[in-house]
Amino acid sequence: MVIAEPQPEELVYERPHTLLECATHYCPGCTHGVAHRLIAEVIEELGIRERTVGVASVGCSVFAYNYYDFDWVQSPHGRAPAMATGVKRCLPDRVVLTYQGDGDMASIGTGEIIHAAARGENICVFFLNNANYGMTGGQMAPTTLPGQKTTSSPNGRDVELSGYPIRVSEMLSTLDGASYVVRRSLHDPKSIRQAKKAIRIAFETQLRGLGFSMVEMLSICPTNWGMSAPQSVKWLSEHMLPYYPLGDYKVIPAVAQIKV
């Protein structure tokens, strides 16, 4: 009888060490976890964990710093790009990122994000757009779609009353100071891979001193949307994708040359 020697397991997929080993506070089905992982993977691939400083925002991602094994500061609501400016200007050789949601960035933080982009601040901005205020329980955000029901637009967003959603990527792409502004989505594996590639280009942009970069990621919020995760993914593709088309809104020539 021949007994085969047991082969050691081959590890083909593991948690990036830049992510701490802990449970997150995010709801089941939420795509924050996906975005966190993608950012951690890229930081690890680039070997920049020891020189990265994150700026957390206010919203569901307020505790982002609990999940990453690098330095973080915590910004007031909407002010993350200003705080990141302060960090980066004092530590130009460090890698500085902000992680913000749509309530934080597209509403209370419009001044800070527009001017950080206009100045061409050499920072990376990761922007999760789930079309509502998640942390406070699903209120209407500037990104809430016309007709979309939220706890503060119970009959659906009435554009006569509340105006129209803001497309942040398109808006920032008009600024000369912005170097790399793209919109991706986290609703299926192909989109997630494309989002990771964009995150990589954003970091490369900063590492090469090429200026302001932002990766918008369309995200689902099953809890506040009142849907299951699969229903949420379907809703994102059917409703958010037409209103927020994926694409590269601003890629300056120097960034276009970056190959990842």
Binding site: R51, V62, D71, W72, V73, T85, L91, R94
Partner: protein, 370 residues
């Protein structure tokens, strides 16, 4: 070193640079704009960080970010701009990072005007944003003192990991006086151990003001209060003039204190035994010195360029032991020495009372004169 003719705002800016300022973020507002302009020229030529922000909100949060790296950082503004900065000031206090703020006060409330006032005493000394915290607040009365206290602000902010404010009115920001600037200190090269600079060879640092668990937040508040008591015990600063044999005490800070000194000298020339207590640290407030003066003097006259904001702190220290009177001008009006002299004469000649409220008596006199 030699004396130079220096404009207040520019002297403060250069004093900060020489104290090793690494980053300045600001927004234009009268009457402090020359400070920002000076920084816009000097900081880039020294290779240090300067950004003219999109708003006071942007400026204060750039400062917050810079402070989290352990850099010597400051901003400057004036009353309405300070109001906008209060959010960030509270976060900086909650995160316990060192930060220096220059407040060149003007008339208010609202848009008010751009003339000198001491309208922000309450906003800075008793307020400064939401939550329980205290900032160190130093109030110069001359350009030389503004230069000296600017350097001290940085040292105190670093020592206690706290906010230090230089509080002055628009006249001190705008006027020119001879002054001597300190020698240039080298910029600090190392970062404090607590700073967010990248977790190289150490555990990660997280700088935040959020304590979601109430017992944790309570503990932080108690620890901050304990530190404030240490600051109160060690950092009270004031000047007294003609107090040795004084039977009356004038109390005023900044420009009001300086004008009051002229009035006190004139009163002394008339034989009135009056002295002046000029708080330099309005926070921590020289409570103990005022309490001690209660043993010596028959009454106090508080002089301010507002409706009696520091008056409340003087009355708390006096605690009803001696009569207190008040004289204030506001809205951008600086009192003349003669006006204060008139009040000193009244205090010395008329029977003083512990009844009523000094602000009410002053208001009635002001309205009757108008």
């Amino acid at each position: 070193m030699t004396l130079e003719l220096l404009k207040g705002n520019e002297a403060i800016a250069e004093a900060a640079i020489r104290a090793g300022l690494q980053a300045y973020f600001g927004y234009p507002i009268t009457p402090q704009t020359e400070l920002l302009e000076w920084m816009s020229k000097r900081m880039p030529e020294l290779g240090r960080a300067f950004v003219q922000a999109e708003s006071e909100l942007g400026a204060i949060n750039m400062c917050y970010g810079a402070a989290c790296t352990g850099a010597r950082v400051m901003t400057s503004s004036s009353s309405p701009g300070i109001s906008l900065m209060l959010e960030g000031i509270s976060y900086i206090a909650g995160t316990q990072v060192p930060f220096v703020l220059i407040d060149v006060m003007r008339g208010g409330p609202g848009l008010g005007n751009i003339a000198p006032a001491q309208s922000d005493y309450n906003q800075i000394v008793h307020g400064g944003g939401h939550g329980d915290f205290h900032a160190i607040v130093l109030a110069p009365a001359s350009i030389q003192e503004a230069i000296d206290l600017t350097g001290l602000c940085f040292d105190l902010a670093d020592k206690y990991r706290t906010i230090a404010v230089l509080l002055l009115d628009g006249s001190l920001g705008q006027m020119m006086e001879p002054g001597e600037l300190p020698p240039m200190q080298p910029v600090r090269q190392e970062h404090p151990a607590w700073a967010a600079t990248g977790a190289l060879g150490r555990k990660r640092n997280i700088l935040t003001s959020i304590y979601l668990n109430p017992p944790d937040e309570e503990r932080v508040n108690l620890q901050m209060l304990k530190q404030w008591h240490e600051i109160q015990a060690n950092e009270v600063r004031f000047k007294t003039y003609y107090m040795e044999d004084a039977r009356f005490a004038v109390v005023g800070f900044g420009s009001a204190g300086r004008v009051a000194l002229s009035a006190v000298r004139a009163a002394r020339a008339e034989g009135i035994p009056v002295g002046l207590l000029r708080p330099i640290s309005v926070s921590p407030f020289p409570e103990e010195q005022i309490r001690q003066l209660c043993e010596q003097v028959e009454g106090f006259l508080v002089v301010e360029m507002n409706t009696g904001q520091m008056l409340d702190d003087v009355r708390l220290a006096v605690a009803g032991r001696k009569p207190v009177e008040f004289y204030g001008r506001m809205g951008g009006i600086i009192p003349f020495p003669d006006e204060i002299l008139t009040e000193i004469r009244r205090m010395a000649a008329e029977p003083l009372t512990l009844d009523g409220h000094p602000r009410q008596r002053w208001l009635e006199r002001m309205l009757a004169a108008a």
